[in-house]
């Protein structure tokens, strides 16, 4: 949690200082670079890929990596590199919206619970306990079974399970802030709970939320890949990393490389985001650094 910060200077970001500190952290630099690369690849794929993503060329199926196809071709002769690039867009889009849903609903719920206490808090926290009782993947499988498979429905499934994460974090962090002098002063000055939440509470937990979003983003990438692997996520012919792995599994004897590249992409992305998240945490809250 943020240190002792007065109301006026609530997290006035000393970005220059952060940057100086950040440059000295290898993990942060690597994480930032990997994430930037991922975003860049995704953006490039929107306008250009080496081959058309969905066009089949069955005579050249299952080729090993070559000068023409850097990462080889899949069972329909499609270019694996092009599909990986386009798959990045899919992963980012699904995860971004899912985490957005989680934070968008979870933060207000958590803030409300902290501000109002009493019955509202009890309901929100019981709901939290309740969602934690279901393993997230199992629930996601059931949600997609009801709604039908597809990218939008996997966003909903992943999004729902991000809500309690943010609600719990926001409530926990806000509760202690409500006892602080500067909040009490604001209350004495006659400010309403909503206004205090907006002006004093949220700015002070923003850094915490940003860190958590990065971590959740990485988890969402993993979850999307898992759902697609089970055939419940993004539908063909749209490329998705998890789906590519699923298809590769039966072709392992013929073209093992198909099972390797999409996995590397997922791992690299998650690794990058986690390093970025850890780096951000260290930057924004140096006291925790020693333990990490």
């Amino acid at each position: 949690m943020p240190g002792d910060i007065g109301p006026g200077e609530a997290l006035a970001p000393a970005w220059r200082e952060y940057w100086m500190r950040g440059r000295s952290s290898a993990g942060f630099v690597i994480g930032l670079a990997v994430t930037a690369l991922l975003v860049a690849v995704a953006l490039v794929s929107l306008v250009w890929t080496p081959y058309q993503v969905d066009v089949m060329d069955i005579p050249v199926k299952l080729q090993a990596p070559s000068a023409a196809h850097w990462l080889g071709t899949d069972q329909f002769g499609r270019d694996v590199l092009s599909r990986l690039m386009a798959g990045a867009v899919n992963s980012i889009a699904v995860s971004l919206v899912a985490v957005g849903i989680g934070a968008g609903l979870g933060v207000p719920l958590g803030a409300l619970a902290a501000a109002r206490r009493g019955i509202i808090e009890e309901v929100v926290m019981r709901f939290n306990d309740f969602t934690f009782a279901f393993p997230a993947l199992l629930s996601a499988v059931m949600i997609t079974a009801i709604l039908g498979p597809g990218a939008v429905n996997s966003i909903i499934a992943i999004g729902i399970f991000n809500i309690p994460v943010f609600a719990r974090l926001t409530r926990g962090a806000s509760l202690s802030l409500w006892q602080r002098d500067f909040v009490l002063a604001a209350r004495v000055a006659g400010k309403g709970r909503t206004r205090i939440t907006a002006e004093h509470i949220l700015p002070n937990i923003a850094s915490l939320l940003i860190v958590q979003m990065t971590i959740q983003f990485a988890l969402a990438i993993l979850a999307e890949a898992g759902l697609s692997y089970l055939g419940l996520g993004t539908q063909p012919p749209a490329p998705s990393w998890g789906k590519m792995l699923n298809e590769a599994q039966t072709l392992m004897y013929l073209a093992p490389q198909l099972a390797i590249f999409p996995g590397l992409a997922i791992m690299g992305t998650v690794l990058g985001l986690n390093l970025l998240g850890d780096g951000l945490r260290d930057l924004l809250d140096p006291r925790l650094r020693r333990l990490r």
Partner: protein, 318 residues
Amino acid sequence: MAVFLLQRLAAFIVTLLVASLVVFLVMEVLPGDPAALMLGVSARPDTLAALRSEMGLDLPAAQRYLLWLGGLVSGDLGTSYTYGVPVWELVRERIGLSLPLALIAICLSTLIAIPLGVLAAARHNKPADVGVMGFTQLGVAVPNFWFAILLILVFAVHWQVLPAGGFAGWDAGFWPALKTLLLPAVALALPQAAILARVTRSSVLETLGEDYVRTARAKGLTRRAALWRHALRNALIPVVTIMGLQFSFLLAGTIIIENVFYLPGLGRLIFQAIAQRDLIVVKDLVILLAASVVAVNFIVDLLYAVLDPRLRGGGHAG
């Protein structure tokens, strides 16, 4: 303490009741008719109606919910639509795979994680620490199903020393059965080991900074002795709780891993049951899983209360 216990117990029951209602409602809106699925494409409407009444699908929803709940309480899980045998039998068969699998995985992850975590803490900020932390970063980032595929590629496709999937069954003998569970267990264990190693490391580092350890060192104990004699024992408390929590996650994590390796376990049963609209099996399994997660949480709460006297004074442990 008693009040605290009762509170937690009530929460435990309420959570399960709500869970059962939600699961039931979810199954109600799940598209697809299990009877139609069993009879296939040339079924005639009268045949379908006959089967639906045989399966009890023609009763009103509220009545079916109460019947199901009553069955659960009295230990009767009902009869599987697709297999036509008591669900309990299916669970018993499958748990013989899933439970050992989860146990092996948790043993593996502990055996890997705790020494690594302690090593990293003991050599804080030295190359060993950096190496361990690098490993944990990788372990957390690797999707377990991809890791599983890689294991298959190396051990089953390339070296052909371990099977690519399937379960030999315990009656095939201990070693053949174990062999088929080895790769899945490793695939399950790695991400857990990464998390556990991190927790161990920070927990040991934290206790090393505590006053009594410092006092012990001041009394002339070496860092190593202080580590082993005092820090480790206390540091293990959070580690054990995390392990408890991981166990239920492992049971769920088997959904995807059992699919990769085509193991006839609980995770695969649940996945198949959803696809086949074997609603009764889905309902039962989800409730059993939820109950086990909630129960482990409950036990962890109790352990905390026992281990940490500060919580006993009616403090909030939620």
